[in-house]
Amino acid sequence: MKKIFLAISIACAFAFTACTDLTEQVYSSLTQSSYQYSQTDLRPVISACYTPMRSYQSHTGLWAMDNTTTDVLVMPPNSTGWDDGGRYRRMHYHTWNSEQGEISSAWNATWRGIGLCNNALKQMEDNQLNLDSGTQAAAIAELRALRAFYYYIVMDNWGDAPLVTEPTQELPAKTSRTEIYNFVVKELNEAIPALSDVQGGAQYGLMNKWAAYALLARTYINAEVYTGTAHWQDCISACDAIINSGKFQLSENFRDNFLADQAACASNKEIIFAIPFSQSFATGFSLHLFSWGAPIRQKFKISATPWGSGSAMAIPQFIDTFDPDDSRLDDSFLHGVQYQYGTTKPIKCIYDAINGEYPDLAYTKEIQSGNFNMEWEGYRMNKFEVLPNTPGSLDNDQPIFRYAEILLMKAESLLRSGQSGAGALVTQVRQRDFKNNPEKAVVTDDQLKENSSYKYGYYLEDYGKSLKEGDTSPIQFGRLYDEYKWEFVWEFGNRTRCIRFGVFTKKNWLSHEAKGEGVAVYPIPESALTPNPNLEQNPNYK
C-alpha cells in the first residue's frame, strides 16, 4: 500500500503542482472578494440602485397596477387568442390575489432597489471607495432619497410592510404604514440639504433635491390615506420649494414631455424625475407594443410588430369626460381611421378579417367589454412620440414627476385645506391644451369642487348599456380628479389618486365592479410570504 501512495504522491508532484487545489479560477466575471473598489466606481455603484425601476414600465409590472386597475385604461383579450390565463382582466376586475405576477414583479423590483441602496449605503458609510467627505455626504444623501422613493412605492402599494435599512439576512416582520411614512418623510427631509440642486443635465434621472421635494409632496398629499392625518400645508411647502426655485416651467406643448430624444428630455424644464430608457442600452419601455396592436406598425413605420396582446386601451367612459377641444385627447390617444406612414391610405386590420375581408382600421371609442374586443376597438396610446424604425423598445423616458403634477398637487392641497388659488394653478396647466380656445383653459376654484363628469357604472357587455350603476354619490373635487386623469393617463400615479379621491374601491366602470376597501392595498406576493414566517398577509387576502 505504501508503494501505491508513494506512486500517487510522486506522480502528483510531477504532473500537477497541487493535486488537491480547488480554488475557482474566475476569468470573465468579478467577485466581491477580489474586486478593489475605487473612486471611479462611485456612479456605477450608486446608479446601479436605479436600474430596478426600469421594470416598473411593463404591462406585467407596476405600470399595470397603476393604470389598468383604474377607471382610465383596460386590457381586454382579443381574437389573437391571447388571454395569458386572464391575468390582465383580473387587474380590471380587482380580483387579483397573492399569485398575481404583476404584483410579485413590482415587489421584487422594489425590494431589489432597497437592497441595492442598503448595500451601497453601507459601502459609502464605510467609505470603501475612498471618497472625500463632501462627495461621501452627497452620495449618502442621494442613496437615502432613492431608498425613500422605493419605500414610497412599498407604502403606497402594500401598506404595512417590512422596513429594512441595512444589509442583513434576518427575516423582517411588518412595520406599520404610518412608520414607513414617517421614515420616508424623515429620510427625505434629512437628505434634501446635501442633495444637488442642479436641474436636469448631469442630474437628469437622478434623485436630486427637486426629485426629493416632488416625492415629499406626493407623500404628504397622500398622508391622510397612509396615516389618517392630512398634511396639506406640508405638501404646499414642498411644492413651493420647487415652484419658487425658478428652475422649472411647463413645456410649451404637452407632448414635449414625451419625446424620443434623450437630450431633449435632459434639458426639459418640466420633468423633475424620470426613468431613462434607451432602445439599445436600457431596454424595456414597450408601451407601443402592448397598446397598439399590429397594424399600427404601418402608421409609424417602426421596425417591430406590436404584440398580438396589444390591448391597453382607454375605457370608453373616460374618453367621454374629455372636452372635445382639449388637445390632450389627440395628444394621448389614437382614434378614428389610421393611415399608413406618410400617406392617406387607410391601414387594414391584420387579424380580424370579417367575411374574408380585412376592414380598414378605425379605432372606435366603444369596446365590447372588458372580456373581449375586436381589433379596431378602443382608443390607443398616442402620448409618447415614436419615431420611424423604432424597435421593440422605445428611446423615450418614463416621467415619474412632472412640474404639472406639482401645480395640481398644490391646487389640490389648497382646495382641501380651504384656501383659494387652486383654479389659477390648474388653469396654468390647461393653457397649452386649449390653444385655439384659450377661454376654455380657465377653470375656477368652484368648478374644481364639482363632481367628476365620469359616468360610473358597470357595463357587462355592449357599451352604453349600464347594468349595475353601483355607487353614484358625487366625488368631492371630482373635477380636479378628472384634471389629473386627462394630464397623467398612461403615466404613473393614477391608482394612488383613484384611491385618494375615493373612486378605486367604490365605483364601477366597464366590466369592473367595486370590490371594497380591502383592495386599496395589494397582497404581499406569495413568493415573499412563504419564505418569511415573520411576514403576515394583508387583511383582505388572508
Partner: protein, 993 residues
C-alpha cells in the same frame, strides 16, 4: 482458481506469457505441452489463455488457435479460457498434445462486466449492473450509442423525441433524482469521460450500465445518474488483420403528420370565421418544408496484432439528412488504438487517438434548426409562397408568423466541429496480481459556426436589418489524470480479494466567443465578411449587433478505493469509497465523502444447488451506496459582481456595478442514498435467465433555486441545497431461449420497470421555501406555466384549469376551487389543479431475436404506460380563434365534449381538455438479415439486412408521436416547436474480410 484470470482487466490476460517462468522451478523439470483451442464449431479461438492455475505460467493462443507451453513436471491441471467462453480445466496426463474445445459462454451470468476501474465476473457482482454486448445491441444504424441499448436495460429509459440528425438521445435512469442538476449519466468511453455521441456505434464492443448507488459510488459526485461504461472494440494477442466493412443507407418519413386544413378545407371550413382570408393560392406548407431524406453510413474497421503489439483502426463517415429540408449532419469518426507489451509483459503501453469531425447546416443563430420553420406550417394555405414579383409572401403584422420557405431558403450557415480524444496509459505489473496504472488523457473540442440571414429572409422582412450575420466559436478541453493501483490475490485457497486505490484529477475548461452584425450591402458575403455590416459603426443594438466572450474552468479531484472479496465464489462482499472535491462547491463544503457496500450470496454454488439442472443460476444481492451530483454550472457559489446593466449618468448610458446574485458559500453536491436488492437466476440450463431489482433512492440536499425572502435578500432566489426526492422502483428482466437448436434459435427477452417518484421536501432549516414551484411555459398566447412541482407529489404534474364542459356559445366551463363549475372568464390561479402527469410509470420492452440457418430476424417492441401528454399543438392550433393567425388544425371545428365548437372569441386556454393519455406500444425496430459465409481466404462473410425503425405505434394520443420528452421538470409537454419524429427505413451490407 479461475479468479485471477477472470478478475483481471482484459490486459492482464497477456501478463501470463509463456516466457515468464515461475520462480523456484528448475529448467530440467519442464514438460512441453501444446494443442489447439477451438470453439464448438471447430473454429480456432485466438487469444485464449492457457495457464497453470495459481501461477504466472501460461501463454495465449495464436491466430490459428494453437498454443505451446513448457510446464513444470507434475503439473496436473491447465486452465483454458477466453472472453466470451466458459473456462475449461484440462487434466494433464502423459500426453503432450491437448486440444481444447471451448463452450461459448452464452448466458449473461457467466460474462465479465465492467465495474469502473476494472472488470468483474458477472456471477460475483453484488450490485446492479446491466451489461449489453455487441451481439445483443439493437441494430439501428445511424443512431448514437444510446440507441444500441434502447429497451435492453431495465430501468434505463432511452427516448428519441425528435428526428433531428443533430439532436441527442434523451436518457434517464431510475426516475428523476434531481431538479436543477444534470440528469445525464456519467458516460465513460474506455475510462474517459465523454458523451454518447462522441463514439461511433460501430466501434462499440459492449456497454455496461452501473445502475445502483453501490456500483456507482466509486464515481462520487458524478455517480447519481448512473454510469454508462462504453468499451470499444479491442483485441488481445496474436490475430491476423481482420477487416469489417459496413455500408448503410436509410430514409425517413414523418410518424404522423399534423392535420392542418388543406386549402380546400380552409375555404370550406374556415369561411365565416373571424380571420378567414382567401389569398387565392393552394399551398401545402408541410410539403414545402419537409423532404424524403437519404442518409448513408460507411464504416471500416480493422484490427490485428502480434503477441506483443495489437492495433485497432477504424473510420466511419455518416452523411445524414433530416426530414426537415436543409437539416443535416455529416460526421467522420477516425480511431486508432495501439497496445504494446514489453519487459516480459511487466509493462503495457496503450495509446489511442480518436474523435470526430462534424458539419451541419446552421438553421438558426447558433443552432441546427429554426423551430419557427416547423411552427409556421400553419401558414395560411391559400397564401402563395411567392408574390407575382418573385418575392416571398410575408405578413409582418401577425405575431410569430413567418413564411417558412423564406426561413429555409434565405438562411445560410454551417457549424463545423472537431473533437480530438487523446489517451495514453502505462501499466506496470511487477508481479502477477499487482498492477499500477497511470492514465493521461486530453479531449479537445473546437466548434466554429457561421450564420447568415439574407435581405429576403422572413425575419428581415419583419425587422429590417439588411442582412444579419453571426459567427461564433467554442473551445472545450478536458484533461484527465488517473493513477490506480490494484492488487488481487487469494489466501487460504478459497478467499479471493481485489484491492483498488486511486487518484483522479479532472479539469474542464471552456472558451467561447460570439459576434453578430447586420446592415450588409450585399448578401454575397454571407457570414464570411462580418465586418462589412454597418451596424457595428452604430454600436451595440440588441438583436442587430453584439459581441461577447467568456472563459471558465472547473476541476474535480478524487481519491478512491475499493475492496472486493469472495469466498469460494459463494459469498461476495464489496465496499468502495471516494473522497471528492470540486471547484464548483462553496468554500464551506469543498470535499465530500461517498461510500458503498454490497454483498451477494451465490446460492448456486452451495452444495444443495450445485448439481441442480433445473436451477442453473441463483444469486441474491444487496447493496447500499451514496453518490452525489455536482452543480451543473461553475461559479455558482461565488459572490459575483457584474459591470453590466446600464444606467443614465454622466450624460449617457453607462455601465453600473452591482452584485448579480445572492451568493451561497455553502453550495455543495446533492447526495443520493440508494438501497438495491436484487436476484439473478437461471433455469433449465440457463434457457431462462433473469434479473429482478428493487431500489429505493433518496436524494437529499437538492440543488434548486430556492425562493428566498425579499427583503432581506436582494434577489428573490438563491441556488442552494435543501429539498429531497424519493424514487422507488422495481426492474425485471427475463430472457428465454425459446428455441435452441443448431440451425434455429429464438431468444425472447422482456423487461419491465416501474418507478414511483415523490418530491419529499423543498425546504430545510435555512430555506422555508414554498412547497411548490411552477415550471415550463405554454408559450404565447396562453403564457401559463405547464407544470407544478409540489411537495408530496411526483415530479411532472400538469397544473392548469380542469375543463368540465363547454357552454352553448363555445366558451370553456372550468371547475372552480370550490368544485363548482364556473366560466373561464372568472378563472383564478387558485382554480388550477393537477391535470395529469407526464412521466410514464411503467415501461415494458420486448425483444425477439430469431436465427434460422443464415437468416436473422429481430423484432423490438417498447411501450410506456401510465402517463399523460400535454398537446400544446392542439391547445394553440385546434382553436377557431387562431384563424386570425393562419391555418388551424381540422379538429378546431370538432365539437368539444360533443356539444359545441369553440367560439371565435374564445381565447386559447390551458385546460385539461388538451391533456391526453400518452400510453403507447411501439413496434420500434424490425431487422431482417441474411449472412453468406465463405470459405475463401479473402472474405469471411457478407450480411445483407434491412431495418425499419419506429414502425408502428398503438396509442390514443392524437399528436405526432407519443414518445415525447420525459426528462427534466416539464416532462410530457409536446411542444408545437418540436422537430417532428420520424419512421426510418434502412438497408445495409456488412462485409467481413
Amino acid at each position: 482458481m479461475l479468479l485471477v484470470a477472470l478478475l483481471s482487466t482484459s490486459w492482464t490476460w497477456a501478463a501470463v506469457s509463456a516466457t515468464s517462468g515461475s520462480a523456484g522451478l528448475q529448467q530440467n523439470d519442464k514438460k512441453h505441452v501444446s494443442g489447439i483451442v477451438t470453439d464448438k464449431s471447430g473454429a480456432p479461438v485466438p487469444g485464449a489463455s492457457v495457464m497453470i492455475p495459481g501461477t504466472t505460467t501460461g501463454t495465449v493462443t495464436g491466430a490459428d488457435g494453437r498454443y505451446a507451453l513448457d510446464v513444470p513436471a507434475g503439473t496436473r491441471v491447465l486452465e483454458v479460457g477466453s472472453l466470451g467462453y466458459a473456462t475449461v480445466q484440462v487434466t494433464l496426463g502423459s500426453a503432450s498434445v491437448y486440444n481444447v474445445s471451448l463452450k461459448e459462454d452464452s448466458t449473461l451470468l457467466q460474462e465479465s462486466v465492467a465495474i469502473g476501474y476494472g472488470t468483474m465476473k458477472k456471477t460475483e457482482v453484488a450490485s446492479a449492473i446491466s451489461s449489453v454486448k455487441e451481439e445483443n445491441f439493437v441494430k439501428t444504424p445511424g443512431a448514437n450509442a444510446a440507441d444500441l441499448i434502447k429497451g435492453k436495460v431495465p430501468g434505463l429509459v432511452v427516448n428519441n423525441p425528435d428526428g433531428n440528425p443533430v439532436s441527442s438521445t434523451q436518457i434517464s435512469l431510475r426516475g428523476a433524482t434531481t431538479l436543477k442538476a444534470s440528469t445525464a449519466p456519467l458516460v465513460l468511453i474506455d475510462g474517459i469521460p465523454g458523451s454518447l455521441d462522441q463514439v461511433s456505434p460501430d466501434d462499440i464492443q459492449s456497454i455496461d450500465v452501473l445502475k445502483d448507488g453501490s456500483a456507482a459510488a466509486i464515481y462520487g459526485t458524478r455517480g447519481t445518474n448512473g454510469v454508462i461504461i462504453i468499451t470499444t472494440k479491442n483485441v488481445q494477442g496474436e490475430l491476423p488483420t481482420t477487416v469489417d466493412v459496413n455500408v448503410y443507407a436509410s430514409t425517413q418519413q414523418i410518424t404522423r403528420a399534423p392535420q392542418y386544413m388543406t386549402a380546400a378545407e380552409y375555404r370550406q371550413l374556415g369561411q365565416g370565421h373571424v380571420g378567414f382570408h382567401d389569398d387565392g393560392a393552394s399551398v401545402n406548407w408541410l410539403d414545402e418544408v419537409t423532404r424524403t431524406p437519404i442518409s448513408q453510413i460507411y464504416n471500416i474497421n480493422l484490427k490485428g496484432g502480434t503477441k506483443q503489439t495489437n492495433y485497432v483502426a477504424s473510420f466511419e463517415y455518416r452523411g445524414m439528412q433530416g426530414i426537415m429540408k436543409m437539416s443535416n449532419n455529416n460526421m467522420m469518426f477516425p480511431r486508432i488504438e495501439v497496445t504494446h507489451r514489453m519487459f516480459d509483459n511487466k509493462i503495457k503501453i496503450n495509446a489511442s487517438v480518436n474523435g470526430f469531425r462534424m458539419k451541419y447546416h446552421n438553421g438558426n443563430d447558433g443552432g441546427p434548426f429554426d423551430t419557427a420553420v416547423w411552427n409556421n406550417i400553419n401558414y395560411n394555405p391559400t397564401t402563395p409562397i411567392y408574390q407575382p414579383d418573385g418575392s416571398y409572401s410575408e405578413n409582418t403584422g401577425i405575431t410569430d408568423y413567418y413564411n417558412p420557405v423564406s426561413l429555409l431558403n434565405e438562411t445560410k450557415g454551417n457549424t463545423e466541429a472537431t473533437m480530438l480524444r487523446m489517451m495514453g496509459a502505462v501499466t506496470f505489473t511487477p508481479i502477477v496480481g499487482l498492477d499500477f496504472k497511470a492514465l493521461l488523457s486530453s479531449n479537445v473540442f473546437n466548434r466554429i459556426q457561421g450564420h447568415y440571414e439574407t435581405h429576403a429572409h422572413s425575419y428581415n422582412a419583419r425587422t429590417p436589418k439588411n442582412g444579419f450575420a453571426s459567427r461564433g466559436t467554442y473551445r472545450g478541453q478536458q484533461d484527465l489524470m488517473e493513477l490506480t493501483a490494484q492488487w488481487q490475490s487469494t489466501f487460504a485457497q478459497d478467499h479471493h480479494y481485489t484491492v483498488l486505490a486511486g487518484y483522479s484529477y479532472l479539469r474542464n475548461e471552456s472558451q467561447n466567443y460570439w459576434m453578430q452584425n447586420s446592415g450588409f450591402a450585399v448578401d454575397s458575403y454571407e457570414y464570411n465578411n462580418i465586418g462589412a455590416g454597418t451596424q457595428i459603426n452604430s454600436g451595440y443594438k440588441s438583436g442587430y449587433m453584439n459581441m461577447s466572450s467568456d472563459k471558465g474552468e472547473d476541476s474535480l479531484i478524487g481519491f478512491f478505493g475499493r475492496v472486493n472479496y469472495n469466498y469460494k465464489g459463494r459469498y461476495m462482499l464489496s465496499g468502495s469509497f471516494r473522497r471528492e472535491g470540486s471547484t464548483k462547491f462553496g468554500e464551506n463544503y469543498k470535499w465530500g465523502n461517498f461510500w458503498s457496500a454490497s454483498a451477494a450470496w451465490n446460492v448456486k454454488e452451495e452444495a444443495f444447488l450445485k448439481d441442480s439442472d433445473m436451477i442453473s443460476a441463483l444469486k441474491l444481492r444487496v447493496g447500499y451506496g451514496e453518490t452525489g451530483t455536482e452543480p451543473s454550472s461553475r461559479y455558482m457559489s461565488l459572490n459575483t459582481l457584474s459591470f453590466g446593466t446600464n444606467a443614465y449618468f454622466n450624460g449617457g448610458f453607462n455601465q453600473t456595478l452591482m452584485p448579480n446574485k445572492n451568493a451561497n458559500p455553502s453550495l455543495r453536491w446533492e447526495r443520493k442514498h440508494e438501497w438495491n436488492v436484487g436476484l439473478d437466476f437461471g433455469l433449465v440450463d440457463d434457457r431462462v435467465t433473469g434479473t429482478i431489482d428493487w431500489y429505493n433512492r433518496k436524494t437529499l440536499d437538492l440543488l434548486w433555486d430556492y425562493t428566498v425572502a425579499t427583503p432581506p435578500y436582494i434577489y428573490n432566489s438563491m441556488t442552494a441545497n435543501a429539498g429531497s426526492i424519493l424514487n422507488t422502483g422495481i426492474e425485471v428482466g427475463v430472457s428465454v431461449d425459446v428455441i435452441r437448436e443448431k440451425n434455429f434459435t429464438w431468444n425472447s427477452s422482456m423487461n419491465y420497470s416501474h418507478n414511483r417518484n415523490e418530491l419529499l421536501s423543498l425546504s430545510n432549516d435555512q430555506f422555508q421555501a414554498s412547497d411548490y414551484s411552477d415550471q415550463g411555459s405554454t408559450g404565447e398566447p396562453m403564457q401559463q406555466s405547464t407544470h407544478r412541482l409540489q411537495v408530496g407529489q411526483p415530479l411532472g404534474n400538469f397544473w392548469g384549469f380542469k375543463s368540465v364542459d363547454i357552454d352553448n356559445t363555445g366558451h370553456w366551463i372550468i371547475e372552480g376551487e370550490d368544485g363548482q363549475p364556473k366560466s373561464i372568464n372568472d378563472q383564478q390561479p387558485t382554480d388550477k389543479q393537477v391535470l395529469g402527469n407526464g412521466i410514464p410509470s411503467h415501461y415494458l420492452n420486448w425483444n425477439n431475436t430469431l436465427r434460422w440457418k443464415n437468416l436473422d430476424f429481430s423484432l423490438n417492441m417498447r411501450g410506456a404506460f401510465g402517463f399523460q401528454i400535454l398537446n400544446l399543438t392542439a391547445m394553440k392550433w385546434a382553436t377557431p380563434t387562431m384563424m386570425t393567425r393562419g391555418n388551424v388544425l381540422k379538429s378546431a371545428f370538432d365539437k368539444v365534449y360533443g356539444k359545441a365548437v369553440l367560439a371565435d372569441d374564445q381565447p386559447c386556454q390551458y385546460v385539461s381538455y388538451y391533456v391526453e393519455d400518452g400510453d403507447y406500444w411501439k413496434i420500434d425496430n424490425v431487422t431482417l438479415g441474411y449472412t453468406f459465409n465463405f470459405k475463401s481466404k479473402n472474405i469471411r462473410s457478407i450480411r445483407l439486412f434491412t431495418t425499419l425503425r419506429n414502425v408502428a405505434t398503438i396509442t390514443g394520443y392524437t399528436g405526432i408521436d407519443p414518445e415525447v420528452s420525459v426528462t427534466g421538470l416539464t416532462p410530457g409537454a409536446d411542444s408545437y416547436y418540436r422537430y417532428p419524429a420520424t419512421r426510418s427505413y434502412t438497408f445495409g451490407v456488412s462485409f467481413k474480410f
